[in-house]
């Protein structure tokens, strides 16, 4: 809680590691809300029009974190490992929607995927393009989800044939994500400058 009001010089009061400022590369159109925490010694890259909502934690403790274009990360999502918990870069593609309360330790999340509320993507997992992990589901450590996979109910998996076969639906989904981004950009005060 203390870190929320802390100035930019002390991003997170991690007790073990002395507060090193994380090297960040943030695109000028990206929106980073106040109360976002970015920690760790590794590089963090945030792409065009990406939106990080309040209380998002990016932990670049075990490797780089790259967030693609038009990707949104909702409240209380945690991306990365806690210090000493794992290693490896995390690459999140374009047009990805990461919902509130998710924990992402995957090594890659493909373009256009959405990870819904409170779901967990295990260490080293690879989520393909246009996948959907519905609320409260878990993608296991090291698991690879092929493109267009939907994880739903109690861990059932299926391939979304509609998405696979119809480019216009994929386009519509991208368009929806762009609109979400536009709305969030208007709603969320941007404090990206404090991380530069």
């Amino acid at each position: 809680m203390a870190s929320t009001s802390a100035p930019a010089k002390k991003p997170a009061s991690s007790s073990t590691v002395p507060a090193i400022k994380t090297p960040c590369r943030i695109h000028s159109t990206a929106v980073i809300a106040d109360k976002v925490q970015i920690t760790g010694p590794h590089a963090v890259e945030i792409g065009e029009n990406a939106v990080l909502q309040p209380h998002v934690k990016l932990r670049a403790e075990g490797g780089k974190i790259i967030i693609g274009k038009n990707t949104t990360v909702a409240e209380k999502a945690i991306i990365g490992f806690a210090a000493g918990q794992g290693e490896g870069d995390i690459v999140i593609g374009d047009y990805v929607h990461i919902d509130a309360g998710t924990r992402i330790e995957a090594s890659r999340i493909g373009d256009g995927s959405s990870i819904e509320v409170n779901s967990v993507i295990g260490k080293g997992a690879v989520v393909g393009k246009d996948c959907k992990v519905t609320a409260l589901n878990v993608v296991n450590e090291g698991e690879e989800l092929p493109d267009f996979t939907v994880v739903f109910c109690d861990g059932q998996r299926r391939i979304d044939q509609t998405m696979k076969d119809h480019a216009e639906i994929r386009t519509a989904k991208r368009l929806g994500q762009e609109r979400t981004v536009a709305l969030l950009q208007r709603l969320i005060p941007n404090v990206a400058s404090k991380w530069l």
Binding site: K132, R158, Q161, T162, A167, E168, A172
Partner: protein, 584 residues
């Protein structure tokens, strides 16, 4: 280690087991001398909470209703449920019962559910692809400007998975029926396209056959009885044998022709379907187990009963729900009835037992108050309930709270020792007392919460100190026989003394036979100390109308003098679950 409040269960008197009253309960309620053995159905037997059948008549008070016509508790066994109306949970549209009979129990408007995961489908529009893409896909050239599809917001299933694309966002049912027909003809042109036609042929054929056989046999040529319908009506009036059964018994069975050709509706099974089956096997190999439907998915709608693969699942029309009322089984009046307005969750009639019968609650006399209000506790308190030590006397406060607006007279009775294997001694120090009437909810909240006769009324300072420090001023007070412990406006507390029995059978010199040992072996829940209390409540009430008192049960009789006051009485068994006895 706060001793929790004991759970209380109420026995509905509708079953034989719980209807029996102890024989001498009316004489003021001294603890009863009753035989230890429980004989089911015997007059005057006590209620044994350990009887296996007791589970079927014990309910928490909140689960019971009360019939104010019969003046009786009503449980799920003595009320009947009645469907008040049918509605679609998705569009909240009420469907008249006549429509249910003709159209079935599914929403016939635009409500559909996902065949994979059952969540509701939404109608979304797909913008028609741009001309560039059109040229790449010549098959789609004839597509209309905008098309619609049904989409599951949860698992992303869309109707495109089974090739359904709709032209309009309205009249979904009609469009789907049309699409289904054309699909059926496409997939199985020989048999399925004319399945309905074949069925019609078949029914027509047999109808004609039946017609023919009955017409020739009509026995009364010109009488008013020549119409079979008339005859059937008359036969049913005079009871017993139906028209057709009578006819059958009177006539020799007439040989009837069987359908023998396609025009008569006969469809011969042809074995040359090996190709189709081969194809199914092939697809099964390709798609694997995950590509097949589950039993649940198939059973969700008749349209999917034959679906073998996920790709064959059709959108499921939303099943309608019902709203039910409950009626008393004996007088048929409504005990609960939902508000007829659709979408309202209120009840128009709701006769809850907790508004009519006194609530009993039991707590240890010297209970340590729980560290926090249990309603605000975030995690489940895992600390185990302390066990009751055998042969250690315990004192409990039994509080009876009156929900009705009349003063009630309560008599309690309980067997001296609890029936069953473990005999615990129970004594109610004051078995007969009055409880004041319930008042406005605000009176209760604003009035002092407890008024013990010794402490709270004798001046503000002492009581205020007591409430501030949280300690009771009268810790040295001793329970006395025949005295009420505590009294508030609408509740009265008395002391209950319990001496838990031992789980071990008394030691004997004679060795037991095997059968005897088996009988004495403790069964499940034998170590629970449960006290059955027979509660008898008497009160007087003003009769609402002059005829209301007539023809009523013998429990109430007109008072001879003055205004029409009616004495009422209610008696029921109540089981207090005190806790587990330690096995030492």
């Amino acid at each position: 280690m706060a001793a929790p409040w004991a759970n209380t269960y109420y026995a509905c008197p509708c079953s034989e087991l719980s209807a029996a009253a102890p024989p001498n309960v009316s004489n003021g309620g001294t603890p009863l001398e009753l035989p230890g053995s429980f004989d089911n159905g015997e007059e005057g037997s006590t209620f044994d909470p350990h009887n296996p059948r007791a589970n079927y008549s014990l309910y928490p008070l909140d689960n019971l209703l009360y019939c104010d016509e019969c003046d009786a508790i009503r449980c799920p066994r003595c009320w009947i449920e009645e469907v008040i109306n049918w509605y679609c949970p998705s569009c909240m549209f009420e469907v008249p019962t006549s429509a249910i009979k003709s159209d079935g129990n599914r929403c016939s408007r635009n409500c559909y559910n996902c065949p994979l995961c059952t969540s509701p489908l939404t109608i979304s529009s797909v913008a028609s692809p741009r001309p560039v893409e059109d040229s790449l896909k010549p098959s789609d050239a004839a597509r209309p400007q905008e098309s619609y599809l049904l989409q599951c917001q949860y698992c992303d299933w869309t109707s495109l998975d089974v090739g359904i694309q709709l032209d309009r966002p309205t009249k979904i049912t009609e469009q789907l029926v049309r699409l289904r027909k054309s699909k059926d003809t496409k997939t199985d042109p020989i048999s399925v396209s004319n399945r309905e036609e074949t069925f019609n042929n078949l029914t027509n054929f047999y109808k004609e056959e039946l017609q023919g056989s009955t017409e020739s046999q009509t026995p009364f040529g010109n009488s008013p009885y020549n119409s079979p319908a008339n005859l059937a009506r008359i036969m049913s009036l005079y009871g017993g044998v139906s028209h057709t059964a009578l006819k059958k018994s009177r006539e020799k069975p007439q040989p009837m022709r069987e359908a023998s050709s396609h025009s008569q509706g006969l469809l011969v099974y042809t074995a040359d379907k090996s190709d189709a089956e081969e194809e199914i096997l092939q697809r099964l190999k390709e798609l694997g187990w995950n590509g097949t439907t589950t039993g649940e998915q198939r059973q969700m709608a008749p349209v999917n009963n034959d679906a073998r693969f996920l790709g064959q699942l059709w959108p499921v029309a939303t099943a309608l729900r019902t709203r039910r009322g409950r009626r008393c089984r004996s007088c048929r009046q409504f005990l609960t009835r939902p508000d007829p307005k659709m979408g309202s969750i209120r009840y128009k009639i709701r006769l809850l037992a907790l508004n009519f019968i006194p609530r009993l609650s039991l707590k240890p006399l010297n209970a340590i108050p729980p560290p926090s209000n249990p309603a605000f506790r975030l995690t489940l308190d895992d600390s185990p309930q302390p066990l009751l030590q055998p042969f250690t006397p315990l004192q409990y406060v039994l509080t009876i709270r009156n929900p009705i607006f009349e003063k009630i007279k309560v008599s309690l009775a309980t067997p001296d020792t609890t029936p069953g294997k473990v005999a615990s001694k129970v004594t109610i120090l004051c078995p007969s007392f009055d409880v004041g009437p319930a008042g406005d909810i605000w009176d209760e909240a604003l009035g002092s919460s407890t008024t013990t006769p010794s402490a709270a009324n004798d001046g503000g300072r002492k009581a205020a100190m007591a409430s501030l420090t949280g300690s009771t001023t009268d810790t040295d007070r001793q329970p006395e026989a025949g005295k009420i412990w505590e009294k508030t406006r609408n509740s009265t507390s008395v002391i209950l003394e319990i001496v838990p029995g031992s789980l071990k059978p008394p030691s004997r010199i004679v060795t037991l036979t095997k059968q005897e040992r088996e009988e004495q072996a403790p069964r499940q829940d034998d170590d629970r100390l449960e006290i059955a209390v027979y509660v008898r409540v008497q009160w007087e009430t003003h009769e609402e109308g002059p005829e209301a008192g007539l023809g009523k049960r013998d429990a109430e009789r007109k008072m001879p003098s003055g205004e029409a006051k009616v004495a009422k009485e209610l008696a029921y068994w109540c089981v207090l679950d005190v806790g587990k006895i330690a096995d030492v």
